[in-house]
Assembly symmetry: C2
Homo-oligomer: 208 residues x 2
C-alpha cells in the first residue's frame, strides 16, 4: 500500500533464482528463470550477459562468501590453509553448482581479483611462476571435492553385513561423525606441506 | 528378419540412458529414461531397485573402468597413486555424475568390494584403523575434484587484459596446456607423501 514493489527483475534476483534451480534440478535455463520470476525470457536477457553471464553471477555470489582477508594472514602457509577452509565452506552451501562452475571459464572481475591475490601471495613468498597454478589448482580440486563430500549422507557406505567387507567395516567403525572434516584437514595438511617442500626446493628465500 | 531384436529394456540399457541424461541435463528421472527407451515408466521400475538403484548402477558402471589391479602393485604408495590415477580417468569421462554419486550412499556390492581392497591395503601396511577413511576420503576428494577439472575449458581464466591481474597473467603464462594434469600430479604427490608420514608416525612396521 504505497510502498514501492520489489522489482520483478534485477541481477540479484536472477542470480538467486538460478542458484535455486541448480540446487533443485542440477541445471538452469534462462526461460526457467523467467518463468519463476513471472517475466518474459527476453526481459531476463536484458539484464544479464546471456546464459554465461548468469553462470558468472552465480560464481561471483558464491565467491563473495570466501573470506579473502585470510590471504593476508602470516605466515603464508597459514594464509593458504585458512583461505582453503573458507573457500570450502562457501561452496559447500552450493554443491550442485560446482560442476557447472568448474567447466566454465572464469570471467567475473571480482573472482579474477581473488585469484590475483592468491597468486600474488605465492609469488611473493618465492614460488616459481610455473609452480603457482598447479599448486593452486590442486588445492582448489581438493577444496571443491571436499565441498561436495560435505553434502554426502551421514552413512556414506551401506554395508549389507560386516562379513562381506570386514576391513571396510573396521575402518568405518574407527572413524566418527567428523569423517568429512577429518579427511579434508588431513589432505589439506598434506598439500600445504607439499607446497612448503616445493618452495624449499626452488631455493628462493621467502620475502615474507 | 529372423534375428532376435534387442530388448527394449534391460539394466545395461537403463544405465546407459541414465548416464546420457545426466551428461546432457545434469539430472535424470525414471520417466525420462522410459521415454527415451520407448517404454512405460512402470516397466523401468520392474528392472531396477527404484531411482536409487539406477544411481548405484551408474556408480557400478563407472567404477568398472577403474583398474583395481593397481591396488596389488608394490610398494603400497605406488599402488595408491596408480589407483588414484585410474579412478580419476574413469570419472573424468562422466563429470556431471560426480555430484550425484558423492551425495548418495554407496550400496553397489562391486564398488564396496573395491573400497574393501583399498582399505585392506592401508591396514596391511600399518595404517591405524582410524586414519584409513580420512586418508582415503581425502584422496577421493582430490581425485573427483581433479576429474571435474579435466572437463574444464582449455582457457579457464579469461583476463580482460594483463594489467588488471598481472600476477595471475604471469602465472598463467608460465604454465602450459598440461595445467590440469600437473595440478593433479603435484597434489597427489603431496597427499601420498603425507600418507607416508602418517604411517611413520604410527610407529607400526609395514607388513609389506
Amino acid at each position: 500500500m504505497g510502498r514501492p514493489r520489489t522489482p520483478l527483475l534485477d541481477r540479484a534476483r536472477i542470480t538467486t533464482t538460478a542458484l535455486q534451480l541448480v540446487a533443485e534440478k542440477g541445471e538452469f535455463s534462462v526461460p526457467q528463470i523467467a518463468r519463476r520470476l513471472g517475466a518474459q525470457t527476453a526481459s531476463v536477457y536484458h539484464h544479464v550477459d546471456g546464459r554465461d553471464g548468469i553462470v558468472e553471477l552465480m560464481r561471483e555470489r558464491i565467491c563473495e562468501a570466501i573470506d579473502t582477508a585470510t590471504l593476508t594472514l602470516e605466515p603464508w602457509d597459514a594464509a593458504l590453509a585458512a583461505w582453503a577452509r573458507s573457500y570450502r565452506a562457501a561452496f559447500a552451501a552450493h554443491p550442485r553448482v560446482i560442476p557447472l562452475l568448474m567447466t566454465s571459464p572464469v570471467r567475473a572481475p571480482k573472482v579474477l581479483e581473488q585469484y590475483e591475490r592468491a597468486v600474488g601471495l605465492l609469488l611473493a613468498v618465492g614460488f616459481a611462476a610455473e609452480d603457482v597454478m598447479p599448486a593452486l589448482t590442486g588445492l582448489e580440486n581438493l577444496v571443491l571435492g571436499s565441498a561436495l563430500d560435505l553434502a554426502a549422507p551421514a552413512t556414506m557406505w551401506e554395508l549389507p553385513d560386516e562379513n562381506s567387507t570386514p576391513h571396510l567395516a573396521r575402518a568405518l567403525a574407527a572413524v566418527g561423525a567428523g569423517r568429512a572434516d577429518a579427511a579434508f584437514e588431513v589432505a589439506l595438511e598434506g598439500l600445504i606441506a607439499h607446497c612448503r617442500s616445493v618452495l624449499t626446493a626452488t631455493g628462493d628465500q621467502p620475502s615474507r
